[in-house]
């Protein structure tokens, strides 16, 4: 294992979506590439692990103690949007429609992958709701079975704390055609209809 080539291949193949073939291809590419390609990568990886950590409040990626959102006093401090991954924050931020805070769980309850509530930042969320002046928790986990299980689990934990708990709506995509919507989505959109005001 002391052979640097072997070590690099082994290291690459531990990444998601990369098999031994791709790992070998990447390794030999870096071997032949100008020095700065490989060294820039090494530096970036080092900085990634040394400079970036998780916000101690919401577990979003952060360069300081707090992430840029938690550190922003202009954000609505009474609303927490619960997401599975930091990437979900990026997606919601792009909408510009949300001005509150976040809480990143770093996954969802998934018995098949052996991920239970104790592996997620759920206790930290409960603590935040108890300590901070939170009025609403928006559960924005994915609309699949794992996401639903997680949302339901958190909802039951938070219920006794007397906070408003909401779930993202399921429904029709904007710019779509009704006749092309699949039945389940359409049925849920009908169920979740609301008055025009």
């Amino acid at each position: 294992m002391s052979d640097p080539i072997e070590r690099t291949i082994e290291a690459f193949s531990r990444l998601p979506g990369i098999g031994p073939k791709t790992a070998a291809r990447l390794t030999y590419f870096l071997l032949r590439a100008p020095n700065d390609v490989a060294l820039d990568l090494a530096d970036a990886l080092k900085a990634l692990k040394e400079e970036i950590h998780y916000c101690r409040r919401c577990f979003n990626v952060a360069q300081g103690e707090l992430c840029s959102i938690c550190a922003d006093p202009g954000r609505d401090q009474h609303t927490i949007c619960v997401v599975e991954e930091p990437l979900d924050i990026v997606a919601i931020e792009r909408t510009g429609a949300y001005r509150g805070l976040y809480h990143v769980l770093h996954g969802a309850i998934n018995p098949l992958a052996n991920v239970g509530p104790e592996d997620l930042r759920i206790n930290e969320l409960v603590e935040r709701v108890q300590k901070e002046e939170v009025r609403e928790v928006i559960l924005a986990t994915n609309p699949n079975m794992e996401g639903e299980a997680t949302a339901m689990y958190i909802a039951r934990l938070l219920e006794p704390l007397g906070v408003r708990i909401t779930r993202l709506a399921h429904g029709l995509p904007i710019g779509g055609d009704l006749e092309y919507a699949d039945q389940q989505t359409l049925a849920q959109a009908l169920e979740g209809r609301r008055p025009i005001s």
Binding site: N114, M145, A149, M152, Y153, R156, Q184
Partner: protein, 414 residues
């Protein structure tokens, strides 16, 4: 409703096929391994989005496609006419990453040129398919009967199909969750979530199975009576894994004795439990089974363990019936299915019979042909023209298949 046109590309042993189909009866004759069953399978695939025979969809792609097409693919398309409106169904399987790559196939379902989910195909082209191996519906393991029920219910109720899909997912996840509790104190909130999910989807499945089997019971008995000229009384019974009626409220002893008598005076089928009662029973049962389930690391009760029994004069045809009796029951079930789909969808299904005639005696053939003439469209395959009489063939569209090529039968061909 009928299938006007079917088009195959690289499907099984058909490289290219464009076939206009008439209303009424079509008979396809061919020697073994020429493509008779493959044609019926293609139609069934278009109707349900699933192959009823292949283990992997890769089997469906002609082997030459992997060698000769720039991007290996297989395609089945068909035009269904109902009430003057044509619906075009199409399923395309494409090799991912082009030729020679080992990766899987991508399946795209299109309805009238728009991408849809496979589940959206259900009910557009309802079919009843009868293959010689369908005798396993009676003689095979319980899973064969569950598969049968699921396919039938999916065709007439898409909601059943989505509940079934969700239920199957819940069972695997719940089993993993149960295993994760072994040697630990189970998390009551988590357990509650998986129990609720299991009960929600399971209740719908059980409720629909109750209803459909109650109706099948009546229709199959009638078909069986006609097929056997009244020899023996057939009953179809639902045997759910969840005890729907607790033992304390079951039939009292006196009535039980009556039921054991040779000719039951008046058989009353079990009542159909409303969903809220099923839900309650299911929840209660899960609560009492909790420890056992965690120990087993498996979901021990629910529709995934259901059974259905065929009783001929009170005796289970699966264990006590002769091969001939089993075949007759399977045939009665299939004929009843035609009626059931008519009732549920308001249109007769396309009847697909694969080499069924050769195994039947004269009377049963006549009965099958009677039903075949009644449905708007039927496609029959045979190795031998002789199983049909000349008058029947004179009114049918006759085709011959040879190594994946269909030709019209001409009067002078033997």
């Amino acid at each position: 409703m009928y299938l006007q046109h079917i088009s195959l590309k690289n499907f099984r042993n058909y490289l290219r096929l464009e076939l206009d189909l008439p209303q009424g009866v079509t008979v396809v004759q061919g020697r073994n391994a020429q493509g008779k069953t493959n044609l019926l399978e293609a139609i069934a695939y278009l109707a349900t989005g699933k192959s009823l025979r292949a283990l992997t969809e890769r089997e469906l792609v002609h082997w030459l496609a992997f060698e000769q097409e720039p991007i290996p693919y297989a395609e089945v398309a068909g035009d269904v006419l109902r009430d003057g409106i044509v619906t075009r169904l199409r399923i395309v399987l494409t090799q991912q990453g082009g030729r020679g790559s080992g990766s899987g196939l991508r399946k795209v379902v299109m309805i009238n040129g728009v991408r849809q989910r496979a589940i959206d195909l259900l009910g557009i082209l309802p079919i009843v398919l009868f293959l010689p191996e369908d005798i396993s519906l009676v003689s095979g393991p319980p899973s064969a009967r569950r598969k049968y029920l699921n396919l039938l219910l999916c065709q007439i109720d898409r909601e059943y199909c989505s509940h079934l899909d969700a239920y199957t997912k819940v069972v695997t996840r719940r089993n993993a969750q149960l295993r994760s509790f072994q040697g630990k104190r189970p998390d009551p909130t988590l357990l509650a979530f998986w129990n609720d999910a299991l009960v929600e989807h399971g209740t719908y499945i059980i409720h629909r199975r109750q209803e459909i089997i109650a109706r099948l019971d009546e229709l199959v008995r009638e078909q069986h009576r006609i097929l056997t000229a009244g020899h023996g009384r057939l009953r179809v019974e639902y045997r759910p894994s969840l005890t729907l009626i607790p033992p304390s409220t079951q039939v009292p002893k006196a009535q039980l004795a009556l039921a054991l008598a040779k000719e039951p005076v008046a058989y009353t089928p079990p009542p159909i439990l409303p969903p809220h009662k099923i839900r309650k029973r299911f929840q209660e049962t899960l609560n009492t089974l909790q420890r056992e389930e965690i120990e087993a690391g498996a979901t021990l009760v629910g529709p995934h363990r259901d059974e259905m029994a065929f009783l001929l004069d009170g005796r289970d045809v699966r264990t006590f019936g002769s091969r001939g009796q089993q075949r007759t029951v399977a045939l009665a079930v299939k004929l009843a299915e035609v009626q059931l789909i008519e009732e549920a969808l308001g249109t007769s299904p396309l009847l697909l019979l694969d080499d069924v005639m050769s195994e039947l005696d004269e009377e049963r053939r006549a009965r099958v042909l009677h039903v075949v003439r009644q449905v708007p469209q039927a496609i029959l395959t045979t190795t031998d023209w002789d199983v049909f009489d000349a008058d029947f063939l004179a009114h049918a569209y006759c085709l011959q298949v040879n190594e994946g090529i269909l030709t019209e039968k001409t009067p002078d061909t033997p």
